[in-house]
């Protein structure tokens, strides 16, 4: 970028913006891998506990933490979206950030839904049932 970002632009570029756009996706990936491999490995080892914690609770943590992370990401995306409300046609950086914010809001809602669905499974199904 050639121009120095103004104070308003702080949120519209940089790491925080990317957290708002991709946070949910990353959280979901972590959630699937963690929950799946915890379940898979613990059951394969024939135990319903992970280091003294009942397996369903461990898997539950692998739902709740990524879920909260996604909520945070959703808030950031919504904030960026509000901040870029006045994005002019010509201002490339603002226009680009605004589009990313829209993408971020919807993506986070989508990933939050999947994580919640995965969470429901944890509460309904006994972990090692085949």
């Amino acid at each position: 970028m050639t121009t120095r970002p103004g104070p308003h632009a702080r949120l519209t570029g940089g790491l925080l913006l990317w957290y708002g756009v991709l946070g949910g996706a990353v959280a979901w990936a972590v959630h699937v891998l963690a929950a799946w491999s915890l379940d898979e490995l613990a059951c394969a080892a024939g135990s319903e506990r992970v280091a003294a914690v009942p397996l369903w609770q461990a898997v539950g943590l692998a739902v709740v933490i990524p879920g909260l992370f996604t909520v945070g990401s959703l808030l950031v995306a919504a904030l960026v979206w509000r901040r870029t409300a006045r994005a002019g046609e010509e201002d490339r950086a603002f226009g680009r950030s605004r589009m990313l914010a829209v993408v971020g809001v919807w993506a986070n809602l989508l990933f939050l839904t999947i994580i919640v669905l995965g969470g429901v499974a944890v509460l309904v199904l006994p972990p090692c049932q085949r």
Binding site: A29, V32, G95, V103, T113, A121, C128
Partner: protein, 642 residues
């Protein structure tokens, strides 16, 4: 905007002559083999992938002929195994992906206002590798040594004990060889789209087709290593007695399936995604408006790319993992329909709100929506594990994935072929011929594959070379076979249409459809340098935008013409601010030589001529060294400002 005779305002005859001199290639045999022009390479991808499609299609016709009647004897069981394996493998790996990459190669630089791909020589290399790998695999068929274990090659059936001979070595080595090409092309797409976009083309103005190609390229980069590792281990197991997949030696059979589907599931989207990109590119011209919901389609592209990685296990519901594990993957497999649905609704809204121009490309888009949605429905039925258990490995599955693959990839490709034919060849196609072809293809497709749902539900398993006469099977199988001949005639008419256009077609104007993206702002076919003046982009639809045309006229300054060498402009990744001009490589035989050396290497590995393989490996290393040897003048000498 430009033909060779009338230079655009602000560009002198001299500029044009110098551009032509730097970018043009003399028509000679050597020139033909050494070109690195993305348009020629794109065309070659399209033609070669089309050729492999014909071979795979002929294999399918032989299978359908065999299955027309119960207990027919057209082919032997061994031949049938090779036919469906080569059909599936070739359709997926040698036709669908390369065909779409062909579109990408031709279009991405034009759509983003650049003069070539970021790595033109790597691009040429990728094409030659694709060609050689494809020939390598097809050459095994006449010798009866073709892959014979289905396109997903499950161990232990593909292992040495159960499957001696070269068959599965051809599969493993062929796919490893081909993987080099796909990876090279993907890296190239990513860098090109990130760094060579025209000034002003910030992320919110990137054409949806380019978004789709880039997302696909990322998927390839992440997914393909799993397949490569899988195939390398398979080859080692078979040839050198390792035990990766052999439980008696401490290996794991399920490992093949996990790795295969970590690749294989995203691969469905690797095939469908760029095709959906074609739909988004074609629609504006035939609805006279921009696609509705641009950010939502971008969202859909990005999230499909991500989610598709998380759901491979849904192909393994018959293997006995814990219930909880399945539920994670079920949740995601079902939810992926949301982003796909978003795109469908956005296109329907575009059609409803726009003014429809019912030409052949739009017909294929409509055919695509109908077919793909039906395939989506039957796919959603698999998400019910109980139903999945019921129809696993029946013709129901064959019906479902042909609806998805032909509906989701072949129809959009056909739309794209008709749409861009004027740009690629400089000729218009014959409209009536095109319509006839469309209706035959559309009817043939449904007559072939719809009955498969039925006899699949009646219990006919897939991958059987023949069957006993059974009520509900015989008649419908005959219908399927008749349908496949209709489909073949339709596809033949498409080919006739292309040849007719090339020979007799009216010369095409630069922009026959009033398309919205930058490829329509060039001559048809484009000059070797694409744009006499590198455009500046002011909106999502630059070709509809007066300001873009104006900025080309007003901006015909030396730094946008760049006629002093083979040069193009590098811009920043997010906002496409101009950074500097770069020198692009000249044409060279090096890519062909390197791909040839690799062909020798893989062939000698196949036949276990290890000394030859060692020499070929040395030749590969030497060629790479020569290729990378710094021979270009450093940038300062060219007067390029940093």
């Amino acid at each position: 905007m430009s033909t060779t005779t009338t230079p655009p305002p602000g560009v002198s005859e001299q500029d044009l002559a110098r551009l032509a001199e730097h970018w043009g290639e003399r028509p000679s045999l050597r020139g033909w083999f050494s070109t690195v022009d993305h348009k020629k390479i794109g065309r070659r991808y399209l033609v070669t992938a089309g050729f492999f499609f014909v071979l795979a299609g002929l294999s399918a016709l032989v299978m359908r002929t065999q299955l027309a009647r119960p207990e027919a004897g057209v082919v032997s069981p061994q031949e049938y195994n090779q036919l469906f394996s080569m059909h599936g493998t070739a359709m997926i790996f040698l036709f669908a992906t390369p065909m779409l990459f062909g579109f990408g190669n031709f279009l991405v630089p034009l759509m983003i206002g650049a003069r070539d791909m970021a790595f033109p020589r790597l691009n040429a290399f990728g094409y030659w590798v694709f060609l050689f790998a494809g020939l390598f695999m097809w050459a095994s068929l006449p010798f009866g040594a073709a892959p014979n274990n289905g396109w997903f090659a499950y161990v232990p059936l593909s292992g040495e004990q159960h499957n001696p001979g070269l068959h599965m070595d051809v599969y493993a080595l062929g796919l490893l060889f081909l993987g080099i090409s796909t990876t090279a092309a993907s890296i190239n797409f990513i860098v090109t789209a990130l760094k060579l976009r025209a000034p002003g083309m910030s992320l919110n103005r990137v054409p949806l087709f380019v978004w789709a190609i880039v997302a696909t390229a990322f998927m390839v980069i992440f997914a393909l290593p799993a397949l490569n590792v899988d195939n390398a281990m398979l080859f080692l197991d078979r040839r050198f007695g390792t035990h990766f997949f052999d439980p008696s030696g401490g290996g794991n059979v399920l490992l093949w399936q996990h790795l295969f589907w970590i690749f294989g599931h995203p691969d469905v989207y690797i095939i469908v995604m760029p095709a959906l990109g074609i739909v988004s590119a074609v629609l504006p011209a035939f609805t006279r408006r921009g696609v509705v919901g641009y950010p939502l389609i971008v969202l859909s592209i990005v999230s499909i790319a991500i989610i598709s990685f998380g759901v491979w296990v849904h192909h393994m519901f018959a293997t006995g993992l814990p219930q909880l594990s399945y539920s994670f993957f079920s949740a995601a497999s079902t939810i992926i329909t949301i982003p796909s649905g978003i795109q469908i609704f956005a296109w329907l809204a575009t059609m409803l709100l726009g003014r429809l121009v019912l030409r052949v490309p739009l017909l294929y888009v409509i055919g695509f929506v109908v077919t793909f949605v039906l395939g989506g429905f039957t796919g959603a039925m698999f998400a019910l594990t109980a139903f999945d258990q019921q129809v696993t490995d029946s013709y129901f599955v064959v019906a479902h994935f042909h609806y998805v693959l032909i509906g989701g990839a072949v129809f959009p490709m056909l739309a794209g072929i008709y749409y861009w034919l004027p740009k690629i060849t400089g000729r218009m196609y014959h409209e009536r011929l095109g319509r006839w072809a469309f209706w035959l293809v559309f009817a043939g497709m449904h007559v072939t594959f719809f009955p498969m749902h039925l006899y699949g539900l009646f219990g006919m398993p897939r991958r059987v070379y023949t069957y006993r006469s059974e009520p509900g099977w015989d008649g419908w199988n005959l219908v399927s076979t008749v349908g496949s001949y209709l489909l073949a005639v339709g596809l033949l008419l498409v080919l006739v249409g292309v040849v007719h256009a090339l020979r007799r077609g009216r010369p095409a104007p630069p922009d026959p459809w009033e398309g919205d993206s930058l490829e329509w702002a060039t001559a048809s076919p484009p000059e070797p340098y694409n744009f006499p003046v590198l455009p500046r982009v002011h909106s999502l639809h630059p070709a509809w935008d007066e300001r873009t045309a104006e900025s080309v006229r007003a901006g015909a300054t030396a730094d946008r013409i760049l006629s002093d060498g083979r040069r193009t402009l590098v811009t920043s990744e997010l906002d496409a601010h101009p950074e500097r001009a770069v020198q692009m490589p000249e044409s060279t035989l090096m890519p062909l030589v390197l791909a040839g050396a690799l062909l020798v290497f893989f062939t000698s590995m196949l036949f276990a001529w290890y000394p030859v393989a060692a020499v070929a490996a040395l030749a590969v290393a030497a060629t790479i060294a020569v290729w990378l040897w710094p021979s270009r003048r450093p940038d300062e000498e060219l007067g390029v400002s940093g």
